[in-house]
């Protein structure tokens, strides 16, 4: 069965404008789950880039998501079978919605796609990838 691995990240809920201008390290992957929510992996080393601008921001060490990279072609085939909504065209792109009836975040690059699901559903997601 394909192995989804827990992703070490920081999840942040903060003012949208603070997230808009957050100085997240270039080397990390920052996904905007919602206007007020940002997911950064690997975990943020310096939390003050957020807290300095929004003292009420919530930052947690986030290990509750699991992910797997698939080559672009394999991902496209799986998505054609299991995704009822249109994937954005540009690359890289972030998208989220139900895939195989499980809430999923997608990070789409030219050559590969990262599938991220809540870790409690990783087992079912892996089974559905295998079908």
């Amino acid at each position: 069965m394909p192995a989804l691995k827990r992703i070490a990240a920081t999840r942040i809920v903060a003012q949208p404008q603070v997230l808009d201008s957050a100085d997240v390290p270039q080397s990390s992957l920052a996904l905007r789950f919602a206007a007020d929510e940002l997911f950064v992996t690997p975990p943020l080393q310096d939390e003050t880039i957020i807290t300095a601008h929004d003292p009420h921001a919530i930052l947690i060490r986030e290990g509750g998501f699991a992910g797997i990279w698939l080559p672009a072609e394999e991902a496209a085939l799986f998505l054609a079978r299991n995704c009822e909504w249109e994937i954005p065209n540009g690359r890289p792109a972030f998208a989220q919605g139900a895939v195989a009836s499980i809430p999923t975040k997608l990070w789409l690059e030219d050559e590969q796609v990262l599938f991220i699901v809540p870790a409690p559903y990783a087992h079912d997601f892996a089974e559905r990838m295998q079908d």
Binding site: R6, A8, R11, V13, A14, D36, E37, H56, A57, I58, I60, R61, E62, G63, G64, F65, L79, A80, R81, N82, C83, E84, W85, E86, A100, S101, I102, P118, A119, P120, Y121, A122, H123, D124, F125, R128, D131
Partner: protein, 733 residues
């Protein structure tokens, strides 16, 4: 190349549909009647590779295909067993425009769309792409021989499905040997010998035939086969035409079911599908609806019985409710009602599905609701746990020895995976005000580092969830909710925060945090060994490392014993769990499941929202008035609680114990003097108390709550809760 028909191999030519192959072998489909070869009528149905009601004219012949003709008098049998076929896959296609039908009109529409810079998907039924329904989206669902397509349109759907040919309805129209004009042309093209052909109306191209003069009167035949066409001239004279095949051209009615299905959606028809239907003359005799065997006489009878609305005629005769969904009979039903003096009726409602697909095909691409697994799921299964779905999660029900698990908690130390507990953080300048309005408790009196058990009420003053508020600072609180209730609670919080315009951040972290409850009299020894020298006091919480894992530690107790709930990053759950189990060996540690937890908390009289409460549980009815501070100016449910508090109580959640004997089942009825007095919500044998203890709803009788009742034919007594450790000395040890 051969296919198998009723156990007999027959040869066919490349490109044949099953129907053409059958006719080539001189086998008439059992439906009888006029064949259209266009997928419109239901006269060529057969069971193909185990699937009944397949239109053989729309199905390509393949080597080894197994065809069973339908019985003429009986419906096909239900399949005995599923042959474990592979699931049908779904495929999603996206474009600006979806065009259904690749005929002239469809291809023109496709060219126009492309010229306008639109992306298109053109569906071609001749390649086996049968559109079965249009749904909001807009979405076209398409059956193909191999997969189910979900074709999504960004802009519009164009129905270019053409028109169906009107079939004859006269005496003898059930005979074999009748063809529509298009059907005759297709068969001639396939090289079939149609014998002597008589044409009624415009004759088919490239078919030698005799033209019948006059109006069609009836068909005559023998052994189900046509031999004569009879027409009538205007002068009233009958003409007889001996023939093998009659070819009918009686007009067209649009294949617009998909268009009608898509009303109020961006769907339009082009070409013949957009035509108004020809309305044929109302027949005097013959079968109008071959699917359900409804004759003209049946329509006359039902009219005489007072069924005059189109929909009532349909429902009473069943005309139009069969496999072809009115494709054959609809023009004639409209014609019949017109003749009866009604205005021309619109076509009846078009509902999915038009061309048909199997239950398996339509389910393509879907899955069951996934049941969530905690980070410790594999640990539980390895320990032999019986897993139970609870609140959307897989949870250990027991590890095989409920009594052993029970005593580990009461006398030693035990673990339970409570990661499923709903968990959120609320932070912001308005955090306190927000929580004051949400919760009936006085949140401002919770001190830093303390936590409090709280109820959540809806606007009607009924309890819908419970949990903890844990104060971290004046502007930041951690909240917990029930496992099954947290999804609803999250929407509840977000909706109210938005509608009150509260300046707060909300983070739902149920899956981010694992939680292990360490409970039992030896808990402190175990935690000390795991590195926690100074555990928090009763109802306090603190952050510290346990077994090298950073934990947020809550001191509370649901089991009735000394308990610490260790919230920790989910990725560390396994490490923490294994370390505690290993270090707990010397203290007799073993994990416990839900079964044991339900019994432990019942001994303590702790309710479970959802099990012991119902839609109408006010705090007062469950003895939780203390959790509601009516002196607070505003919180959700306050008005309702104030109002209902003035109404005399009718029932109360109470503790009960049996005089002797085993625990009654949960749901058992409570009787008092032979009258219904309520029911049991929780029930268990208490090993430590040596008696059966229960919670249940007990009704008032003339303002009094009975002291003794009958359950299961045995005597039970109302008692105060908790049943066990009334002073809570053990939990607070």
């Amino acid at each position: 190349m051969r296919l198998i028909v009723d156990g007999r191999p027959i040869s066919y030519e490349p490109g044949d549909s099953l129907l053409i192959a059958l006719l080539r072998a001189d086998i008439q489909p059992t439906g009888g009647g006029c064949l259209c070869l266009g997928g419109d009528c239901a006269n060529c149905l057969a069971t193909v590779d185990g699937v009944s009601y397949v239109r053989t004219c729309q199905t390509a012949a393949k080597p080894g295909t197994v065809v069973q003709l339908h019985h003429t008098q009986k419906y096909p049998p239900l399949p005995q067993e599923d042959e474990a076929r592979p699931a049908v896959p779904a495929r999603n296609l996206f474009s600006d425009v979806v065009i259904i039908g690749a005929g002239e009109a469809g291809r023109t529409a496709a060219r126009e769309a492309e010229a306008a810079g639109k992306s298109i998907n053109l569906l071609d039924a001749t390649y086996g792409e049968e559109a079965i329904g249009i749904y909001p989206g807009p979405l076209v669902v398409v059956r193909t021989p191999h997969e189910t397509l979900h074709v999504h349109a960004q802009d519009e759907i164009i129905v270019a499905t053409g028109a169906a040919e009107i079939l004859p309805i006269v005496p003898g129209s059930e005979l074999a040997g009748l063809l529509t004009r298009r059907a005759a042309e297709k068969l001639a093209q396939a090289g079939l010998d149609l014998g002597r052909v008589v044409a009624i109306g415009t004759p088919p191209a490239a078919v030698d035939c005799q033209l019948a003069a006059g109006e069609l009167l009836r068909f005559e035949g023998e052994n189900g086969r046509l031999h004569t066409v009879i027409t009538q001239t205007e002068a009233g004279q009958e003409n007889r035409y001996a023939c093998d095949t009659a070819v009918l051209n009686l007009g067209l009615h649009p294949r617009n079911a998909l268009l009608r299905m898509g009303h109020n959606l961006p769907v339009r028809a082009v070409g013949d599908a957009a035509l108004e239907s020809d309305i044929p003359a109302c027949p005097n005799e013959g079968v109008v609806c071959p699917c359900e065997g409804v004759s003209v006489a049946d329509l006359e009878t039902i009219w005489e019985q007072g069924f005059h609305e189109m929909e009532l005629v349909k429902r009473a005769t069943l005309a139009g409710t069969g496999t072809c969904q009115g494709s054959t009979c609809l023009p004639y039903l409209r014609s019949f009602l017109l003749k009866k003096g009604k205005t021309l009726q619109p076509s009846f409602t078009a509902r999915p599905v038009t061309r048909q697909l199997t239950v398996g095909e339509v389910s393509a691409g879907t899955h069951h609701h996934a049941t969530a697994r905690t980070a410790l799921d594999a640990e539980h299964r390895r320990l032999g746990a019986q897993m139970e779905r609870s609140g959307g999660w897989w949870r250990p029900w027991s590890y095989g020895d409920p009594d052993g698990e029970y005593w580990a908690v009461r006398e030693a130390v035990s673990l339970m995976d409570v990661s499923t507990l709903g968990k959120m953080i609320v932070s912001g300048p308005d955090a306190l005000e927000f929580l004051e309005r949400l919760y009936p408790t006085k949140v401002s009196t919770i001190k830093d580092g303390r936590s409090r058990y709280v109820l959540l009420l809806n606007e009607r003053g009924y309890v819908f969830d419970d949990g903890l508020i844990c104060k971290e600072s004046d502007t930041r609180y951690s909240l917990t909710f029930t496992s099954g209730g947290v999804s609803h609670a999250e929407m509840w919080l977000r909706d109210w925060a938005a509608s009150w315009q509260m300046d707060v951040h909300i983070l739902h972290q149920t899956m981010s945090l694992g939680a292990i409850n360490v409970t039992g009299p030896l808990t402190k020894q175990l935690l000390a060994k795991a590195g926690l020298a100074n555990p928090p006091g009763w109802l306090a919480h603190t952050k510290a490392e346990v077994a090298g894992v950073p934990c947020h530690i809550f001191r509370l107790s649901f089991t009735g014993e000394l308990s610490f709930e260790l919230h920790h990053p989910a990725e560390d759950s396994v490490k923490l769990w294994r370390a505690l189990l290993e270090w707990g060996q010397e203290f007799g540690i073993r994990p416990h499941g839900l079964h044991t937890l339900l019994r432990l908390r019942l001994e303590k009289g702790h309710i479970i929202v959802g099990q012991d409460t119902d839609f109408d549980s006010t705090p007062r009815r469950i003895h939780h008035d203390w959790a509601v501070k009516l002196e607070k100016p505003a919180f959700i449910g306050r008005h309702a609680v104030e109002r209902t508090n003035k109404i005399p109580l009718d029932k109360l959640l109470v503790g009960l114990e049996m005089a002797d004997g085993p625990a009654p089942m949960e749901g058992a009825v409570i009787w008092h003097d032979g009258q219904f007095a309520g029911h049991i919500t929780s029930s268990a044998w208490s090993p430590v108390l040596h008696k059966a203890v229960m919670l249940g709803w007990l009704h008032y009788f003339d303002g009094h709550l009975p002291e003794t009742v009958t359950i299961d034919g045995r005597s039970a007594r109302r008692v105060p809760v908790p049943f066990y450790d009334k002073e809570a000395a053990r939990a607070r040890a």
